[in-house]
Structure formats: structure tokens, C-alpha cells
């Protein structure tokens, strides 16, 4: 197997005395979609925040593309191409769609920004129609598209998506999953945190189930989908 793009070992992190992650081990290989599953409050977002440098780990290592990013600051992590589309979108509500997208390339600078913008707008024609609109006045689904578009503007090598389907209608959720599949076919590596277990497993290659701050199960997505005992034990399905 190839060298992993992202390799996490023994990661501990949390909020002051309140530790949430107690030694996470996780790999993402180039071109893979990896699903991270787990109950509410188990620490999936905490993991994403730690990977993207918003939260400092208390122990463990994060290697990305051969470099040690454990202590790297968030700007260096973005520049390395590890880009996090957060839970709750976090678009800039007071900025136009266009300015939101342009800021997605903030860490990279202006070189080839126009071409990237063009590519993102081709993926999201709806954003092109609304370039001048304030992001805060868009619908939840549009804001999610914008959040992903902003992430793509940074030319990610690994895209972390934290509950992108949260609050979307079933139809929009379906669109979203086919979009994720398309991005993956274009070669993007994706770490997908989702509540839509069935749909996530359908597009992911592998899945990690987090329980009590540990990886309780790491398996091929197909295996997790097909084995009724695993489904019952880890996903409550």
C-alpha cells in the first residue's frame, strides 16, 4: 500500500482538563474517502479541530504528506493542503459569496486564484448566480455549497468535511453525496464525518468508528455495511 497522506497516531486532545480524545490512530491514503462515524458528542469535531490546528493536541502525532504537522499552526496546515470544512459551515455572513470564495485562497495567495475560482464555480453553478449576494442571506444548503467551495479554493490535498449534510433536506443531501463522490473521482482525498451512516458507507472506502475517545473499529466500508453483527454493535443499525 502507498504511504498514507494523513497519519494520526495516539492523538490526545480536549478542552483544558476535559480530555475528549484518548489516543486516536487513523490513516487516510491518497485518493481515499474515509468515513468517521460515532455518536453525538464522541469527539469527531474535536478530532477535526485538532487536525486543522484550531486545537492543540496534548499528545500524539499528526503527519501529513510526509511532514510532521503536530505542532504546526493553523495557517501552515491550510497551506500544506489539509483543509477543513467545519460543522455549521462558518461562512463569512457579512461578505459576498465572491469574497468568501476568494478568502478560501487566502493562504495560497493570488497565483492561479482566478482559475481555481472558475473551477469551483463550474462545480457549483448556483454560487456563480449569487456571487454578489451576502453569504448570510443564503439558504442553509447554499451556505454548505459555499463552505465546500471555499474549502476547494484552498486547493486541498485532503478535505475534511464535518457533517456537511446537517440540516439539509433529503434531496439536497443526495446531491451533496453525489458531489462528494465526484470530487473523489477527480482525485481528492476526503475525511468525511457524517450522521448519514448508510450514505457515507456507500461512498467511503474505509470507516472509523469512534467510541470513548478511541477508534473502536476500523474496517472496510463494505465490510461494515454487510456484516450485520458489526452494524448492530457499532452503528446501532
Amino acid at each position: 500500500m502507498t504511504e498514507p497522506l494523513l497519519s494520526v497516531r495516539g492523538l490526545h486532545a480536549g478542552y483544558g482538563p476535559f480530555q475528549v480524545l484518548h489516543g486516536i490512530d487513523l490513516d487516510v491514503h491518497p485518493g481515499e474517502i474515509v468515513a468517521v462515524l460515532g455518536a453525538n458528542g464522541v469527539g469527531k469535531t474535536t478530532l477535526n479541530r485538532t487536525l486543522s490546528g484550531l486545537l492543540a493536541p496534548s499528545a500524539g502525532t499528526i503527519r501529513f504528506d510526509g511532514a510532521d504537522l503536530t505542532r504546526a499552526d493553523h495557517a501552515a496546515i491550510v497551506r500544506a493542503g489539509l483543509i477543513h470544512v467545519p460543522e455549521g459551515r462558518r461562512v463569512f455572513p457579512n461578505l459576498s459569496v465572491r469574497d468568501n470564495l476568494l478568502l478560501g485562497a487566502y493562504a495560497r495567495g493570488r497565483a492561479d486564484r482566478g482559475a481555481t475560482l472558475e473551477r469551483v464555480l463550474t462545480i457549483f453553478p448556483r454560487l456563480r448566480e449569487r456571487l454578489a449576494q451576502h453569504a448570510g442571506s443564503m439558504s442553509g444548503g447554499e451556505q454548505q455549497m459555499l463552505a465546500i467551495g471555499r474549502g476547494l479554493m484552498g486547493q486541498p490535498r485532503l478535505l475534511i468535511l464535518d457533517e456537511p449534510s446537517l440540516g439539509l433536506s433529503p434531496r439536497l443531501t443526495e446531491d451533496l453525496f453525489s458531489l462528494i463522490a465526484t470530487l473523489h473521482q477527480d482525485g481528492l482525498s476526503i475525511l468525511l464525518v457524517e450522521q448519514n451512516v448508510v450514505q457515507s458507507l456507500a461512498i467511503a472506502r474505509r470507516a472509523f468508528v469512534i467510541e470513548h475517545g478511541h477508534v473502536a473499529l476500523s474496517a472496510a466500508a463494505a465490510q461494515l455495511t454487510e456484516d450485520p453483527r458489526l452494524r448492530a454493535a457499532y452503528l446501532g443499525l
Binding site: L54, P86, F92, Y106
Partner: protein, 290 residues
């Protein structure tokens, strides 16, 4: 009965004065919009800028308008340094502590100025300080015209910077969504220092525009800062157009108030306009695009 020409003169005069008010308020509203605190050091830093300009004029024999670009740079550096070295450090990002830190800076600067310059009032002399040009029935003060023009140009430049550059976008982004900003690689601490620096740089410009027609003393900031606070609240806290329109409105109100009510009662006019605006628009004239 006040004749029409006097009324016109008062109106134009107020408008011209309002330009500088707008500039001072722009700095205040920018800092408020990003840091979400009222910069209590604003008046004191205006005073520092005026003394800086005064020294350049008196000691280096610069024209105040030639000193203006220099003072913009100097005040930007002072603002940046104050935030990066003192305010940001003391506060650790906590809003209440930022507020207190700016208050502390104000107290130190005010007293430092008293020690260095005593409480005396100083003025500069320029060949054009009493120059006027005729515009129809009106006599317009040349330094006030210049100050108005420069203030408006600077306000437009600042607006273009905020709207069209990545730094401007980053400042606006951090103001509302610091976590989202981090995720695109923006460092909010640097942006705060930048925004504070720009807000203070506005004072460098305002100081040089005021020098030809105003005095300098360690208390001079107080004269303007209350007006600037009024403008910021009246215009809509954090709003750029609000600061500019509010500045001009308050300039005119002050001038007409003085005309109708006399020097001592004139300021009542400002309070009246203030109360009226907030009565009908409690968030100010412009809802800040925040």
C-alpha cells in the same frame, strides 16, 4: 432673523468640519467592528498624533499637509505596536480586558503628554491658515476645504481597501467569524493588530488636517472623542457609511446649533439629533454590514 446666506455659510462650514469628524469616527468604528470594543484610547491617540504633527511642523519645519502621509505611517505603527505589544498581550483576546487595556493606554498617554508638554495650548502658523476663497456668496476657509477633501478621499481609499483587498476581506471576515477565518489560514491576532493600526492611522491624518485651524494640548482629544463616539453610535456601530454620513451630519448640526443657539447652547443640537435618530433607528442610521 438669520439671513439665508448665513444659514448657507453655517451649513457649508459644518459640512467641511464634518469631514475630519468622519475620519476620526471611521477609525473608531473600524476598531469597534473588528474588536467589538470601544477604543478608549482614541482621544489620547489623536492628541499624540496632533503633538506628532505639531513637532514635525515646529521642529522639522514641515508643512502640516506634507507631514500627513508621514503621520499616517507613524500612527499606524504606533497603533499596531500598541495592539501587538500591549493591548493584545494584556487582554489575551478577552473583550472586557481589551477595553480596560485601551483605557489604561489612554491614562498613560494623557499623563505622559502633561509631563512632556505641560498643560499649555499650542498652535502652529501657516501662510494659509486664514486664507479664504469666494464661492458665490460664501467665503470658504482654505484649510477647511483641504481637510474636507482629503478626509473624503481617505475615507474612499479605506473603503476600497476594505472591499477590494485580501487584507480588507480578512479584516471583515475576522470581525464576524474568527473560527471560519482561521480555517482559511487567517491569523486573527495579526488582523486585530492590523485593524487597530489602521484605525489609529486615521487619527494621524485627522491630526494633520486639524492642525492649521485648531490648537494642541494634552486634553485636545477630549474635544473630539465624545463627538466621535456620538457619530459612531448615530451612524450605526461598525458601519463605514454610518461614520461618514454621521460625521457630516454632526458637523452640520454643530455648526447650525452654534448659529441658532449660540456657542454655549449649540451642543444641545447634537444631543437632539442623536436622540431623534436613535428614537427612530435604535441601531443607528446604517445597519453595519456585520
Amino acid at each position: 432673523m438669520i439671513s439665508l446666506s448665513i444659514l448657507e455659510a453655517g451649513l457649508v462650514n459644518g459640512l467641511l468640519t464634518g469631514g475630519v469628524y468622519a475620519l476620526i469616527a471611521l477609525g473608531l468604528t473600524l476598531i469597534y467592528g473588528v474588536l467589538h470594543i470601544v477604543n478608549f484610547a482614541h482621544g489620547s491617540l489623536l492628541m499624540v498624533a496632533m503633538f506628532g504633527g505639531w513637532m514635525l511642523v515646529e521642529w522639522a519645519h514641515l508643512d502640516p499637509y506634507a507631514a500627513l502621509p508621514l503621520m499616517i505611517v507613524v500612527m499606524f505603527a504606533i497603533g499596531w505596536g500598541l495592539y501587538a505589544g500591549v493591548i493584545g498581550r494584556i487582554s489575551g483576546g478577552d473583550d472586557r480586558r481589551i477595553l480596560l487595556a485601551t483605557l489604561g493606554v489612554a491614562i498613560v498617554l494623557d499623563n505622559l503628554a502633561l509631563v512632556l508638554f505641560t498643560g499649555d495650548t499650542r498652535t502652529i502658523e501657516t501662510p494659509y491658515q486664514f486664507a479664504v476663497i469666494e464661492a458665490g456668496p460664501l467665503l470658504l476657509s482654505v484649510p477647511k476645504l483641504i481637510s474636507f477633501g482629503v478626509a473624503i478621499v481617505l475615507a474612499l481609499l479605506l473603503w476600497a481597501f476594505m472591499a477590494r483587498t485580501d487584507m480588507g476581506r480578512a479584516i471583515r471576515a475576522v470581525a464576524r467569524e474568527p473560527d471560519g477565518a482561521r480555517l482559511v489560514g487567517i491569523r486573527p491576532g495579526r488582523i486585530f493588530a492590523l485593524a487597530y493600526g489602521i484605525g489609529i492611522a486615521c487619527l494621524g491624518a485627522a491630526a494633520c488636517l486639524l492642525l492649521p485651524t485648531f490648537y494642541v494640548s494634552p486634553q485636545v482629544g477630549n474635544v473630539f472623542v465624545l463627538t466621535a463616539f456620538t457619530i459612531v453610535v448615530l451612524g450605526g456601530m461598525g458601519s463605514f457609511p454610518g461614520a461618514v454620513v454621521g460625521g457630516l451630519l454632526i458637523g452640520v448640526t454643530e455648526s447650525l446649533g452654534g448659529l441658532f443657539l449660540g456657542e454655549s447652547l449649540g451642543p444641545i443640537g447634537i444631543s437632539l439629533v442623536f436622540i431623534l435618530v436613535l428614537l427612530f433607528r435604535p441601531t443607528g442610521l446604517f445597519r453595519a454590514a456585520r
